[in-house]
Symmetry: C4
Subunit: 487 residues, 4 copies
Amino acid sequence: MILISAEEIAKHNTYQDCWIIIYDKVYNLSKFLPEHPGGVGVILEQAGKDATLAFSTIHSQEMIHRYLPSDACLGFVDPATSVAETSKAEERRREAIKNRPSLNEILHLYDFKAVASRILTNETWSFYNCAADDEISFRENHYAFLRIWLRPRVMRDVTHIDMSTKILGYYSSFPLYISATALGKLGHPLGEVVLTRAAHSHGITQMIPNFASCSLDEMTIARKDGQIQFFQLYINKNRDISRKVIQDVQEKGYKALVVTVDVPSVGNREKDLRMKYAGAPPGIQNEKDLNRDQGASRVLASFIDPSLNWNVIKWLRSITSMPIVIKGVQTPEDAILAAEYGCNGIVLSNHGGRQLDFAPSAIEVLPNVIEGLKKSGLLGKIEVYIDGGIHRGSDIFKAIALGAKAVGIGRPLLYAMSSYGQAGVEHALQILKDEFEAVMRLSGTNTIADICPNMVDSKSLSNHSLTPKDYLSSNVYDRLVPLRSKL
Amino acid sequence: MILISAEEIAKHNTYQDCWIIIYDKVYNLSKFLPEHPGGVGVILEQAGKDATLAFSTIHSQEMIHRYLPSDACLGFVDPATSVAETSKAEERRREAIKNRPSLNEILHLYDFKAVASRILTNETWSFYNCAADDEISFRENHYAFLRIWLRPRVMRDVTHIDMSTKILGYYSSFPLYISATALGKLGHPLGEVVLTRAAHSHGITQMIPNFASCSLDEMTIARKDGQIQFFQLYINKNRDISRKVIQDVQEKGYKALVVTVDVPSVGNREKDLRMKYAGAPPGIQNEKDLNRDQGASRVLASFIDPSLNWNVIKWLRSITSMPIVIKGVQTPEDAILAAEYGCNGIVLSNHGGRQLDFAPSAIEVLPNVIEGLKKSGLLGKIEVYIDGGIHRGSDIFKAIALGAKAVGIGRPLLYAMSSYGQAGVEHALQILKDEFEAVMRLSGTNTIADICPNMVDSKSLSNHSLTPKDYLSSNVYDRLVPLRSKL
Amino acid sequence: MILISAEEIAKHNTYQDCWIIIYDKVYNLSKFLPEHPGGVGVILEQAGKDATLAFSTIHSQEMIHRYLPSDACLGFVDPATSVAETSKAEERRREAIKNRPSLNEILHLYDFKAVASRILTNETWSFYNCAADDEISFRENHYAFLRIWLRPRVMRDVTHIDMSTKILGYYSSFPLYISATALGKLGHPLGEVVLTRAAHSHGITQMIPNFASCSLDEMTIARKDGQIQFFQLYINKNRDISRKVIQDVQEKGYKALVVTVDVPSVGNREKDLRMKYAGAPPGIQNEKDLNRDQGASRVLASFIDPSLNWNVIKWLRSITSMPIVIKGVQTPEDAILAAEYGCNGIVLSNHGGRQLDFAPSAIEVLPNVIEGLKKSGLLGKIEVYIDGGIHRGSDIFKAIALGAKAVGIGRPLLYAMSSYGQAGVEHALQILKDEFEAVMRLSGTNTIADICPNMVDSKSLSNHSLTPKDYLSSNVYDRLVPLRSKL
Amino acid sequence: MILISAEEIAKHNTYQDCWIIIYDKVYNLSKFLPEHPGGVGVILEQAGKDATLAFSTIHSQEMIHRYLPSDACLGFVDPATSVAETSKAEERRREAIKNRPSLNEILHLYDFKAVASRILTNETWSFYNCAADDEISFRENHYAFLRIWLRPRVMRDVTHIDMSTKILGYYSSFPLYISATALGKLGHPLGEVVLTRAAHSHGITQMIPNFASCSLDEMTIARKDGQIQFFQLYINKNRDISRKVIQDVQEKGYKALVVTVDVPSVGNREKDLRMKYAGAPPGIQNEKDLNRDQGASRVLASFIDPSLNWNVIKWLRSITSMPIVIKGVQTPEDAILAAEYGCNGIVLSNHGGRQLDFAPSAIEVLPNVIEGLKKSGLLGKIEVYIDGGIHRGSDIFKAIALGAKAVGIGRPLLYAMSSYGQAGVEHALQILKDEFEAVMRLSGTNTIADICPNMVDSKSLSNHSLTPKDYLSSNVYDRLVPLRSKL
């Protein structure tokens, strides 16, 4: 066993020659550096130092063995010389947390996002907040709700409001579930289990992500008695791997399988890709040193099967008794197919605008899907959920009025979690509940069943004469100016 | 009787230990402080001092006994030592008034609002100016008018213009009334009676607010011979209280009862809620010290009955002979119900956008309501008024053309009152009158009856492809930027 | 005859005590000062000095006798002591002219406006550039053209383009005439005759304004052989005055009478009104010193007859043989009436947005008018012109395609004249001609007759979902902001 | 042979007296200076110096003889004294290139444009980037794509994506060709052959511009085996010249003749025109020194035949066997005529918005053209391409879905070439390919044939209620502001 002194390690702190300490072992990352999905910068910041804290925040220990060749490990740090150090990024994060507003001052989900934008590292912020291409669909997801107006009824006894509903037969305190989002530990050291606990506090369902930072066991253990969890899955090119996961999940008590079908390849998320170059030193501007086609998102998705098709439903039925939900449907045609193939539910979703820019918002697709199912005599055979753009109680109300059984919410809760932990997520859910209850009361609706289509005015929903602003194109446009007098 | 020296009182000037003087008595507000609907800041500013002036501007004396426990009163200030002091906020207000523009320079209602924004305290400005959630409906109320165009006729003798009309049979010099708005003394020491006097000068009706700062007697006494006042009422959970108010009001000569039906719970007015934290010292950032769910608006509304329904009309008819107007109708369906239940009038209103965000503007609902009443054979059985967004004479003209009997105006007059008192309100009304007369003359209409639907072009009124900008969401969006050359 | 020394006069230079010299006479303007339509400031700038230059730029000499009481004249300035002085405003103007761009650099009509905005005094700029209320119609006049697209045809021989047309039977080198605009001497010392000369150079018709700065004789004398002038008239309350003007005009060879019918009262032009207060000293902020309801526009229009109606056509026919054109028609209904009453032409116009805000643009009204005349069998019985918003050759093309015989242009030529005199106006007209010819050539149209309705796409013309921005309301709106971390 | 010393030449460095050295000869440009299409400034910068480098970057040597009279040449520079000098502009350009981002950091076509805007000289940037009048059509070309949304299908096997297609029967690796753009050497010293080489690398067709900086031979030689080139032609007033070019082109192996038909006269490109004055010294502000009506674009186009009409097709058929494509069609009517006249293809194009402002975007015209051809039974008889506004793979997908056979791209590749040479163009094409493949995969389409009309939602495509912003008019508008308190 080789012992290496902290002083020696500290000398290897450049792009060409980069050593770091993780869990007391010393690694030479010089070759791995340009391949790191999270960018060069975050590693160089740790070059020659103990990176255990920064590493463990994001990765499980087994990642080392999966990605590094065995000869990358040079030996152990000499305990007599080692000094664990807090990274500058971590210091900055802690300072931002210390100066965050009081949780009680947070009035809406935008506050959480604004606070999180200062607390998260640039890398995490870019990964969570990015979307595809010009991020038109990302913003359209929100703007589409702005084109729907309410039709409030008055003079109805609204003393008692019952917001509860059932999702695949399971009780939900209001028609919202926590959607699957990847890499929770980037935002909070405890990762997805924070969401598990908050979901229980509020009596709602959590959809566990395939790309969780926490292990399946951690998330299963965090579940309380009677609490409902669904499991979101990407189908692997190697079906055996998927089969094992599905059987494991069923045994561990997950109540439904949610198959994401809109990632045959990963979307072009440019904020995320930019990060790769953010910390690169000037010396490596050479065109061969770094290569395109990466970023955190791409690495994650490399095993997903692009040949996925409707036949997979039969196969799934053959290996599991869990209800099957298809996530990523975007047309009435596919909604009808899903119903015909016997799926139990569909999530209308454009993946938060992260996959295909100009994919329509789920809320715009929703009434067409309901209409399509109705015409095909399939309405009621399949539950329809939507996600994307939900920020206010009125958004939930609009979705229910147009035919959704429930809505999913993802990123806003990551921001709440990153800024205030479990208390933040619970506060965020409470805000949504309060807002939704208020809209129900002020609209004169006592139960979910009362929220029918004529409670909203969606005549302008499909009017796309105004699109979310395209910042790239306007940024490079030179505006015409008239002449003024000289000097 | 305990006498306490001003010097002693002055020592108790912190969040934990806060005494103030009101009407010569000394109160310990340490416990009450976090509960104060108007926020912590305004009280701390007075801590250890004589707060009589600041208090009396907003509250009637009886409020002390209603909200403070009897042991909060510690005794009397020793008159030998007391020194009344003008608060800094009051000094700032007076300075702003001294520097306001000449009243003759005020050309339109926006000038009043701009001037008032500097004169009012932050708390009052936030309370008057706030609206629900993203304030979409608040601004839509104005923008909807921008989507209506005029169809002016020429070559008509317009030497004589008669703007007068009747509201519930009572003469009005032009088709506008002063709508009910709460807490007038926040804006002007004399409160609502300023509006009463200006209404008389202009020969129009005033709708007295249930939440007036002035007492009913004050407002009744301020009424001149032949002057018309309506009374706006929130129905109390305790019907006996409402009955007494109604009978009192009828005896005192009010000519109509206007029942507000759109407040089963209070809207989520975030500017108002923010104020609660504005003056809080850093030491109390702890999450339990302050609690959400308050703000001036919420406290006011706690007694309103959420079980209110159409049966209340029969009960009202049984205890009063006053005409009954329902304020807050927002759909043709409810307009028809109001007519069928025998109401004398309805106010189409979304409560100035302060209740339910995305509730439609009254002006957009108006033509649908008229159409609905016509189809049901009820047109003419009930008078239809609208409020919300009226700022120009052309707005009044558009409302009349689309079928309104009259329009209500609220906040703009508060701004005029706050900035210039009664002269300000009279000037504001004169501007509206002049503008309305000009629109009538330039449109070739001599009387209110001439202002028929084909005097306007409202084809684009219901086109919602462009919504008022959602500032919160765009504020937290990171715009994409293309690369430029480095350095 | 009293002689007063320049030194003595110089002492009377305050708001309370204000003497000035005009054409060697000394006037006490102390009483007149607050009544001056052009504002207090411009006079105070001259107080105690010789104001002849400033006065004569704008007014004819007879104005003195019309507006000042005879006792305002105190005597003559003692020639031994008088010193004529150039005003500071005039110096500023000359400096701006010296620094204007070369005329050849002016590429479009916006350049002229930008240059003029620096050269004109604030008072003149405000008067020329102002419009009614929120200036929505003013800007809509331009924006409406942006909603019309072209349908260019290719592979047509466009070697020869003939842009000429006839207006009331008179040759015009292209389908544009100079419209009537008031007070030309505010922009250029020679006033309207500058336009007369440029009209001749380009072979187009000039519409002489009733409110010209130049006398009728000056403008008549400036006319060259064969040059066509129309006369624009406001009908006086006293018909005898109008009769005399009409007969005078006919004798002097004007070829048509254009009766403006959209000014029964003057529009609310707030930029113009603001000017009244611009120069007022702080000492007179008192609310009674200055009164509303004035500004240059209002004084001019006081004699116009608000009782004007269609009967006037018969009367006009009885006293003149000139063709009669009605200017200010804004609906198909009135266009049909004009044709039925035997008028020879109509100008669709909202008076440049200066009269009634939210009056539609002429270009939007145009296709409806053509349709209305067609349905009534009156198409071809009356010529239809439009004005308002014309800035580009493509605007002219669009108007012709939608049925206009010609378009009028006003303010843009005032800006050209104010900045560069006659050469400027000729350059402006040449730009329009070049642009119009280019559009004809690139659209594949050889003659005016080829410019038919299917050369344009006007499907979105009446879509008013996007209105010109309402700056007043957005200026006083406090935008919502999410919380950020403190400090 | 006259020898002139560098010292002597250096003295002639003013507007009135301007000598320069090109290829060792000395020219007196004093008379030519005001006529220079590229502006006075670029020449004055070289006055008295050796301009060979600057000249040769843009012009071929024969230009000297074509444009300068023979007596302009004064003799040879005395080699003993001459010193070649790098121009300041060239130094600036090299500095910008040194500081450009790494090519791998370039994520989309906007990055290239942003980088190029700093590298190109002002003159070149203005020439490349300019468009007609208010540049509405220029930007609309891009914005129109924003009004088209996608309808992605899921659960389809998209392992294999085949993007290849045929254009006029020739293989293309994806449905895009490099369109013809003038004066490539302004952007890169090697000019159009850079594009030829990149086209080969990517297996796509290049359309060679009539106004290339490179000679036909250079571009022919650069062609690799099997590589496809089309030739774009402006028909000369002198048909003999055109005939020779066509025969030459056919012999040299060009595969199709693309006749541009939308330039009977050159568009009014104001950014380009402005450049003429950019370097002019203050001394020549006199109105006669410079004249309008020029700029780089106008000089180029002076020989184009404005009498061009459909008869030309028969003549072309008589002299060439190449397929004939008409470029610049903008209506279904002309598309039908082109098919009837037997053309093999049409390019729907508004010439990048550089010809006629308010000409519609090709993408908006496309579905109407397809519909028109279908109704006339001509669909399939003629290939339809579009150009203008293509920046993303999704733009290509939308065009194909609406019926285009392929799309052309011009300026974005000039920016890539100017910033990074051939590697830049190849990277740009790779980005487009990657993006297009991703859209195909994420939409569930395996081949070009799968991209049918119902893969997109183009309902809002023709909704023009929102037009690209008109910067000139808004720049000269004085916004209304409400009064605030004074001081």
